[in-house]
Symmetry: C2
Subunit: 333 residues, 2 copies
């Protein structure tokens, strides 16, 4: 799946900034790939990009309209349809991060085909993957893993890729979820892959590379999440990571969506991920911790980073506050 | 998915007995549900059931024709089609354990609909499952787990269910793979479920039960198989087993299909499964070991069972040679 850039970010009638979270992620990490935003009456989100019509975006070279808005239930709204149709007729592809499929909208696939355009339902996998072989691949791999879902694995991965590239290290972010796929312009939504092929899909996502090339693979879920751990383990085995970075959100009271389930300790989570990873890469090692301290003030965050680093004995950073330099310093050569 | 019994076992032009392995499993475990077998010219398999035509089977009450034969690539053969069509026209459903789908055969779905019949592609999941909740369910659960794929988890599960029922214990075999589904007349092929819903599918397969009812859940794959461990972990979490039984094939030289990967030790495999299971059921305990000693002679098998039992410190049985009584003796009350 390769989604052509640059993008027009479609915010529709997003009721607030949170409803445009997917577009916000794309704008934060791929701003130079975004020609502008398109907002309908009633939209209360703003990414501080130029407001454009479809025609204006097309003139500025936009290749793909990104549906970067979520409403209740993840539905494609009837209200958006005239604009989606106009985008196809103007020569743009459409990429959609919602559960609803563009392919299921009456007449849209036909209109796309007639205009030689593509529809990308990035949460759904239309590709057939092979079963994983477990064979060692060339090149190096870093995987972000987490104590829970939604603790900052994508942000950490993108920040690590950025720091690697800044130093001239060959690196590539490998997206495994919908927002990451829209940022990277490609990838595999691993939680949408059929069980038997999860590890195989990750092997395909991160094939043989140059010996000193790093694939930075976005983690999903957590080995300790009772709903999604199967995906996390299949991803861990398929990634064959040389290096793990553990991601954690320190104010999370329980596993996402499951009040009965406490979070694992950072120590146990590192141990379980190292043990799991060593099935397919006996050298896999966790080199550091990325805390998402957005909910803490500056002093609290600094204290927690220092305390965690001292307790665990590994570098502990925040992708936004402290950057990833200290983790990238620790990469094996 | 509920498949109506009794069955006519269709062996087609199976080149040898191994090609009819699925039908053989059904005939072994559900003989009284099978009115007979149907063989085409060139068939070299024999389940020692009455040879019947479609019409004869229908007169004997057969409700479903089971495609219990596999050829190279798991394809539906053109040669079989006249017989499949005749079965639908005679009033039978068809259930298929191959990768190829009946639903994709030109005209077959229409013919089934016109005759009020059902087509079951049991390897494929057409059902939508909820995400797992991890909530404790009532009733008791036993899950078979393995050092590898194809080590006898289905046979062990069915033998345990049979021994439980013999003692008057309320028990139900919960099928998670195609042959098990055909034997049970229902179930979920968990390796065909989308990653995010593996654990949720198992929660649906084994819902709340009477407090002293046992669901005996068929395991799949192995936590140590680099291709399929994600499915095994999702199944382990969704099953919330009170009791685990470890299955092992002692002559297996390496993980199935992967010569580079040795088998885990029984000790490590028990420990990893207990640790994983305790996320959703803190009381989960392995109560015994089921060895598939079919490849050993009587004396070798006896020695190995004794040696393994002494080394691990848990009852060690063979489903076929020694039965499951000693494991069922160990169930918590």
């Amino acid at each position: 799946m390769v989604i052509n850039k640059p993008y027009l970010l479609f915010l529709g009638d997003a009721s607030d900034q949170l409803a445009a979270k997917t577009a916000e992620g794309v704008a934060f990490w791929s701003r130079s790939d975004c020609v502008g935003q398109m907002r309908l009456p009633g939209c209360n989100a703003d990414l501080h990009l130029p407001d454009l019509t479809i025609a204006e975006a097309s003139e500025l070279g936009a290749k793909t309209l990104i549906i970067g808005v979520a409403n209740r239930g993840g539905r494609l709204s009837e209200l958006w349809m005239p604009h989606l149709r106009e985008a196809l007729e103007t020569g743009m592809d459409i990429a959609n991060g919602l559960h609803d499929r563009l392919a299921d909208v009456h007449g849209l696939a036909e209109l796309a085909a007639n205009n030689g355009r593509n529809l990308f339902d990035v949460r759904h996998s239309s590709v057939t993957f092979d079963v994983a072989t477990g064979k060692k691949r060339t090149g190096k791999r870093l995987l972000t893993v987490g104590t829970d879902c939604s603790v900052g694995k994508m942000y950490a991965s993108l920040a690590i890729e950025r720091e690697m590239k800044r130093r001239g290290i060959m690196a590539r972010f490998c997206a495994t979820g919908q927002t990451g796929i829209l940022i990277a312009g490609g990838g595999v939504s691993v939680d949408a892959v059929t069980g038997d092929f999860i590890s195989g899909a990750v092997e395909a996502l991160s094939p043989d590379q140059e010996p000193d090339h790093w694939d930075v693979i976005e983690g999903q879920g957590s080995l300790f999440h009772p709903s999604f751990a199967g995906v996390s383990l299949g991803l861990l085995h398929g990634a064959q990571p040389d290096v793990l970075v553990l991601c954690h959100e320190p104010t999370r009271g329980h596993m996402r969506g499951l009040p009965e389930y406490p979070l694992p300790s950072i120590e146990n989570c590192i141990a379980a991920n190292e043990t799991g990873a060593r099935l397919t890469n006996p050298n896999a090692t966790c080199i550091g911790i990325s805390l998402n301290t957005a909910a803490l003030d500056e002093a609290e965050a600094r204290d927690l980073l220092e305390e965690t680093e001292a307790r665990i004995g590994l570098p502990c950073v925040d992708a936004v506050r402290s950057g990833m330099a200290r983790l990238v310093d620790c990469l094996p050569v």
